[in-house]
């Protein structure tokens, strides 16, 4: 009998560990983050200055904000390749709303977000209604949105936004840059949505077993669509931040951005097969990438070597993650 209890005791411990293993991948990424952080603190005297850290924060805002939306999409076993183009489209149109239509800045920002949401809606409908593979649906949007932004701008940057527009991407509240505050707000909101709301729960359920979700009465189409709308809207917000940082509408912005964003989510433990992923993990992933980039410039590492290093570090971070998971699985027996 005693060993039976021992066994059940073991299982209880294991149950704990399992919950744990959900966050462990994030911890692993976090581990990598911390290592890189320490290395850089020693490698560069200026790295640990408030200025630089705030800089990194602001620079990461765009990726991080968009990555939160991407995480939701990935959790549903989907993917959104269009975030780069959509952020450009939304950002540029947002700026045009100010310079062209003369809208007040806050409304224009809202407008930009809505444009993004609109693109997301198209993605969502293509996936949930037309039954397109998310990869194809959003790949199409990637080229369509880019084409549109060129058509609207004739490929010319849009200038002439008032300095008040700079606030979003360059402003500070007290000592804290507004972009960092935005990251926090979006992250907290994303965390709540994923862990506390129907939408979040259904996202996990749909990603884990779509048919089971459907048979459990979840209105698949509505919720699947909403997820892409959110991703689009956040891409729009990200675009507005990016444009605000340069106080102009840049039609060429965000080419290839999707890869960074997806990498952030996956490094953070999201599974492209759905059902797995967390906001915290994604943030860590985003900052890991940003940190490497920042360090590379501070140390004036040759651009070419930077690419090699970034790739290798991403590998190492995730390998470490895997290793930690294995160790944990092993320990749990």
């Amino acid at each position: 009998m005693s060993d039976t209890t021992a066994t059940t005791g073991g299982r209880a411990r294991e149950a704990l560990r399992e919950r744990f293993s959900d966050i462990v991948s994030q911890l692993a990424a976090a581990g990598a983050l911390i290592v890189v952080f320490i290395v850089l603190s020693f490698a560069s005297p200026v790295f640990l200055t408030a200025d630089n850290l705030f800089n990194i924060g602001s620079q990461t805002a765009v990726t991080a904000v968009i990555a939160v939306g991407m995480t939701m999409v990935i959790i549903t076993a989907g993917i959104d390749l269009s975030v780069g183009s959509v952020s450009a489209l939304a950002g540029v149109l947002g700026v045009m709303l100010i310079t062209g239509a003369g809208l007040p800045v806050p409304l224009a920002i809202l407008g930009g977000i809505l444009v993004g949401a609109g693109a997301g809606l198209v993605n969502g409908l293509l996936v949930s209604m037309a039954g397109l593979n998310p990869f194809i649906a959003t790949l199409g949007m990637l080229t369509v949105a880019r084409g549109l932004v060129y058509i609207f701008t004739n490929a010319q940057a849009v200038f002439g936004a008032p300095d008040s527009f700079r606030l979003l991407g360059q402003g500070v509240i007290g000592p804290i840059p507004i972009p960092i505050i935005i990251i926090l707000v979006v992250a907290v909101a994303g965390y709540i949505v994923l862990s506390r709301t129907r939408l979040g729960r259904y996202a996990y359920a749909m990603g884990s077993n779509l048919e089971a979700a459907r048979l459990s009465g979840i209105p698949i189409r509505r919720y699947l669509t909403s997820v892409y709308v959110i991703s689009g809207a956040l891409a729009g917000l990200g675009g507005m931040i990016a444009m605000s940082r340069v106080n102009s509408g840049q039609p060429n912005f965000g080419i290839g951005l999707e890869l960074d964003v997806i990498a952030a989510a996956v490094i953070g433990g999201a599974s492209l097969f759905g059902g797995q992923g967390t906001v915290l993990g994604t943030l860590i992933g985003a900052f890991l990438i940003a940190l490497i980039r920042n360090g590379a410039v501070l140390l004036d590492i040759n651009t070419f070597y930077q690419q090699v290093i970034i790739g290798v570090v991403i590998w190492l971070a995730v390998i470490w993650d895997q290793y930690r998971r294995r160790r944990l699985a092993a320990a749990s027996e």
Partner: protein, 479 residues
């Protein structure tokens, strides 16, 4: 953790050695150790005297250990033939001889009496059909030891007889068969010796001759289970659900039936008769060409499952993994999936946990924590989780499609008890099963299907296996 703890087990050539035990007792895990799917932390396996090193499943097969897994191990995108010889394709130099493969496949399918073309994609087969493909796949390996993990969970009487034929044939050739089942009658029917497991340990190993059902149950559950099919006395109310004229392509032809308050209606029929299809059509899981569904006299417009659920219907599917569970989600999250305790879109996590804990106790779901991923639960306990989900919806009419699949006697009794309770509360229950005793004991009426049609409905006082079989096989005299 220790799913299996210090187990000694020896199997004689030519014997059918039954493994019995509650859900989560460790049967499957033990078998997985034998077939080298999982690595034992301690201990060793000997086959005909020689110690066996761990080298993974391929090695086990090579040594003559074949296993039919409780959770199917088939590649849905591959054809039946391709699955049968997966990993052992005929042909040389890296090339596959597809003709030979297809021919051999036909032979195997014959042996398990499965009438599907070897070119069918496994994806398109019913669970029952897949089960038999699994068995055929194991036969493809000429094994010294054949392990069958709940092979009959999804089979109907007829097919089970066929399977037993196969097993006897094997044992007569000196092949040892390890047989896991929760069906007592089978155990006595086919078994030579029985090993009972509980909490990862062997309780005892006895020859069948020294056992009777009660004794076996006591060994498994560790307590008395007085009545397997506790059917309460209920006076039937008036019609709750009226389904009329449902048709769907070839699968369903003008099916009508009604369920009364407090009634348990059974669906009987051979595999492929369309029981599942009928339930799915009513529930809105599949589109229907025609037909109407009335609940408490008012006509329902059911386009998708959510409509059905809102209206007060529930459907527990027959394919646990395929369309039942969200494996990466926790037990609690799976239980509340169809009826999330939420306000303004926000989930009440506390209530969710309480609900889950309550159901865990009620159904005695073996898991240390309700937050554990369903993925790692034993087959039977996974089944209980889905049952819990549908109990949560508090539906007025509940369809249970093969609900007893792979759950142990104790649990079975508990669950049929529950079905009884629900009926008592004035709900209508529909019980789809390929295991007649369940239907005969639990149901007030049994609807028998044949080739997508309702062959007939039998009242409880007129119940008899013969009549049901007759209707199910479409024999004329029954009509």
């Amino acid at each position: 953790m220790l799913a299996v703890d210090d187990v000694d087990l020896d199997i004689m050539p030519g014997e059918v050695h039954v493994m019995a035990g509650e859900n989560g007792a460790g049967k499957s895990t033990l078998m997985k150790l034998l077939s080298q799917v999982e690595r034992p932390s301690r201990g060793e396996v000997e086959i005909s005297g020689e110690r066996v090193e761990f080298h993974g499943p391929g090695h086990a097969q090579h040594l003559g250990v074949a296993m039919v897994y409780q959770e199917f191990a088939l590649a849905p995108h591959l054809s039946v033939a391709e699955n049968l010889y997966l990993g052992r394709e005929p042909g040389r130099g890296g090339f596959v001889n597809r003709r030979a493969e297809r021919e051999d496949a036909r032979g195997l399918l014959e042996r398990v009496g499965l009438q599907v073309s070897p070119d069918r994609l496994v994806r398109g087969l019913t669970v029952a059909e897949q089960q038999r493909v699994e068995i055929a796949k194991a036969l493809a390996i000429d094994a010294k030891v054949l392990i069958l993990d709940e092979p009959t969970a999804t089979l109907a009487e007829r097919e089970i007889e066929g399977l037993f034929g196969v097993i006897r044939d094997l044992t007569s050739h000196g092949i040892a068969v390890l047989y896991i089942s929760h069906r007592l009658d089978e155990i006595f029917h086919i078994g030579d010796r029985v090993t009972v497991m509980r909490d990862g340990k062997v309780v005892d190993t006895l020859p069948v001759s020294e056992l009777n059902e009660d004794k076996l149950v006591r060994l498994m559950v560790g307590r008395e289970v007085e009545n397997l099919y506790p059917k309460p006395e209920i006076e039937i109310g008036d019609v709750l659900l009226r389904v009329s004229g449902i048709s769907r392509g070839e699968k369903l032809k003008d099916c009508s039936f009604e369920v009364r308050a407090g009634e348990i209606l059974g669906f009987a029929g051979l595999v492929g008769a369309g029981r599942t299809e009928l339930a799915r059509a009513v529930f809105g899981a599949d589109r229907k060409d025609s037909g109407t569904v009335e609940l408490e006299g008012k006509k329902l417009k059911i386009k998708k499952p959510s409509d059905a659920i809102d209206a007060g219907l529930g459907y527990l599917t027959e394919d646990r993994k395929g369309d039942g569970l969200a494996l990466q989600l926790g037990v609690d999250q799976n239980i509340t999936l169809a009826n999330l305790p939420a306000r303004f879109g926000f989930i009440n996590l506390g209530e969710e946990r309480r609900t889950a804990r309550r159901r865990k106790e009620e159904l005695n779901i073996r898991t240390p924590s309700v937050r554990r991923k369903v993925q790692v639960l034993s087959g039977g306990n996974q089944q209980k989780v889905i049952v819990a989900r549908w109990l949560e919806t508090r539906a007025k009419v509940l369809f249970f499609d093969e609900p007893a699949r792979g759950i142990d006697v104790g649990a079975k009794a508990e669950m049929f008890g529950l079905i009884g309770e629900l009926a008592k509360e004035g709900n209508g229950m529909v019980l789809i099963s390929s295991y007649l005793p369940e239907l005969l004991n639990m149901c007030d009426r049994i609807l028998v299907m044949h080739e997508g049609e309702v062959a007939g409905v039998i009242e409880r006082k007129e119940f008899s296996e013969e009549r049901i079989i007759a209707l199910a096989t479409g024999a004329k005299e029954a009509a």
